[in-house]
């Protein structure tokens, strides 16, 4: 595994504030354009699209952090993972609130109707719901309380959220599938990477078990990379 590039480490204290600000810019732009009347003549559209798109992008960014850390060996990516995840939840919640308030005015009857009849709403709401426990257990204290192993297991729900998010997008477009399919391909690669890592790890463990069951003299060093 590559050793962490040192030159980044001196700017370590800047990493999180910078990332925090960058991830907020789409929202700040939206607010700015809203107040300066620079959105389209149907602002509901812009707000819905922007918050929805950035939810998906933040999920993709979150899913990219671990592979990037493993490939580059730079631990900075790990430190950004939680923030991207929480931002995904933030944008997702704005997206949901836009629907509930700007689109439906909290008319629960209509909302219930959508939630039972319309598959793109169902799958979108599922995607958001699955992020809720992840956001709630994202603090240090909650992570400790849940416990490392369980926390890891729980947070694999983000894979389902990513898939649901892509399906939500696929099912809502009218004709041109190019954009949702692009996100679908990216998510497929990111999840595919994890499958490869998992299968390799299992294979390595099995080899290791085999090696340890033969007489010690014949055992070879095991490559335990994940």
């Amino acid at each position: 595994m590559a050793s962490p590039p040192r030159r980044f480490d001196s700017f370590r204290f800047l990493l999180k504030p910078l990332a925090f600000f960058l991830a907020a810019t789409p929202f700040l732009f939206l607010l700015y354009n809203y107040y300066t009347d620079n959105l389209s003549v149907n602002p509901l559209d812009d707000i819905t699209d922007t918050t929805g798109t950035w939810t998906l992008r933040m999920i993709v960014i979150t899913l990219t952090m671990t592979p990037l850390r493993k490939i580059t060996g730079w631990s900075g990516f790990s430190r950004l993972r939680r923030m991207s995840g929480v931002y995904a939840f933030f944008y997702g919640t704005m997206h949901l609130m836009t629907y509930l308030y700007f689109d439906k005015f909290f008319e629960w009857g209509d909302i219930a109707d959508d939630l039972t009849k319309r598959r793109f709403i169902i799958v979108g709401f599922t995607a958001w719901s699955l992020m809720l426990p992840l956001a709630l257990t994202s603090t240090d204290r909650m992570t400790k309380w849940v416990g490392g192993k369980n926390w890891k297991r729980l947070h694999r729900l983000v894979y389902v959220t990513a898939i649901c998010g892509v399906i939500h997008y696929l099912w809502l477009v009218k004709a041109d599938l190019q954009r949702p399919l692009t996100y679908g391909a990216i998510v497929a690669v990111l999840l595919g990477y994890r499958i490869v890592v998992f299968v390799r790890g299992r294979y390595a463990r099995r080899e290791a078990a085999k090696a340890s069951s033969v007489p010690p003299a014949a055992s070879l060093p095991v490559d335990s990379r994940q």
């Binding site: 809203y34 107040y35 009347d37 959105l39 389209s40 003549v41 149907n42 602002p43 509901l44 559209d45 308030y101 700007f102 005015f105 008319e107 209509d110 109707d113 959508d114 009849k117 319309r118 793109f120 099912w171 809502l172 477009v173 009218k174 004709a175 041109d176 599938l177 190019q178």
Partner: protein, 315 residues
């Protein structure tokens, strides 16, 4: 939440509440004021230069007396997939489209099939300004001051044969000028159709302009169909061919998603789109939602054409 925080809007911009706002929209506005998120764009109008606001009021029997949408609203927020799928794409990408010179081919079951230069086709016909509601299948609406001729007048010129039962329309195919046509997310060219009586109906226009000017490219220059009691996508744009046929002609959105878009596509609050309700609509420029009316409020004029038909089957 305090009621005296309702945003101040010039009284001329306020439309009678009973008529224009449903309860929920009013609640929405109070809520909006409560969190002090107020923007002119959400509250309708804002500061609109007078030349961009067509005078409100009925001039002819077919006009609505509702407040016309602004020129900007009508020309920057369009569905014209030939120029891209985002609402802003048509305005951004239609600049290099050439609506002149233009010819329209009239063929099929007519006495004399012919290709007309647009000016010859329109010669001798009265161009009228008409203020119509326009309801998009996506759940938003506008009020548009069209300029155009009655399709019925064009049909008289074409002299269809008695065998003709439908009229089929076709949009120009110019992938070099229409970026959207370079990718097959819809089947190009765009095609639409009407039953003979729908085509002959006095509300049915072939529009050549809006706001008293020639049609902007993004609105379907130089010639487009307007059927105000149907969803907007029936209003095929940049028409190059009108054919009279015996069988119900294929229509683009019906080919793309037959369970979502039917041949008739009459505005109907009781028939949901599979992915959303059609009961209400958002008028562009307004924050609240309005109730969608059967046949988009034109039931009196058009409902008789569909007497005895099951409109849930024939959506």
């Amino acid at each position: 939440m305090s009621f005296n925080k309702i945003p101040r809007v010039p009284s001329s911009e306020i439309t009678p509440e009973s008529q224009y706002y449903t309860r929920r929209s009013w609640l929405g506005m109070v809520g909006l004021a409560g969190v002090s998120m107020v923007s002119p764009s959400l509250l309708g109008g804002g500061v609109v230069p007078p030349q961009d606001r067509w005078p409100q009021g009925k001039k002819g029997p077919n006009d609505t007396d509702e407040k016309p949408s602004t020129f900007k609203e009508i020309t920057t927020y369009n569905n014209f997939y030939e120029f891209g799928t985002d609402k802003s794409d048509p305005e951004e990408n239609a600049g290099s489209f050439k609506p002149r010179p233009w010819t329209v081919k009239i063929d099929g079951l007519v006495k004399k099939p012919a290709t007309f230069a647009l000016d010859d086709l329109l010669k001798g016909l009265t161009q009228e300004d008409r203020i119509y509601r326009m309801r998009c299948v996506e759940g938003w609406s506008m009020v548009i001051p069209w300029r155009g001729v009655m399709l019925a007048d064009i049909m008289k010129k074409a002299q269809p044969l008695p065998k003709a039962k439908y009229v089929a329309f076709e949009t120009v195919y110019r992938p070099d000028e229409m970026v959207g046509q370079r990718r097959p997310y819809l089947q190009w060219p765009y095609v639409e159709g009407l039953r003979m009586d729908e085509a002959m109906h006095p509300l049915t226009l072939l529009a050549t302009g809006l706001y008293g000017k020639d049609l902007p490219n993004q609105n379907g220059a130089p010639l487009r169909l307007v059927t105000p009691w149907k969803y907007g996508f029936k209003g095929i744009k940049s028409i190059v061919r009108i054919s009279f046929v015996e069988q119900e002609p294929p229509t683009t959105w019906n080919i793309a998603a037959p369970n979502e878009y039917g041949f008739y596509s009459n505005v109907n609050p009781d028939v949901d789109h599979p992915r959303w309700s059609q009961k209400t609509e958002r008028r562009i420029g307004e924050f609240g939602k309005r109730k969608t009316l059967p046949f988009n409020g034109y039931a009196e004029q058009v409902a008789s054409m569909y007497a005895g038909m099951d409109l849930k089957q024939n959506y």
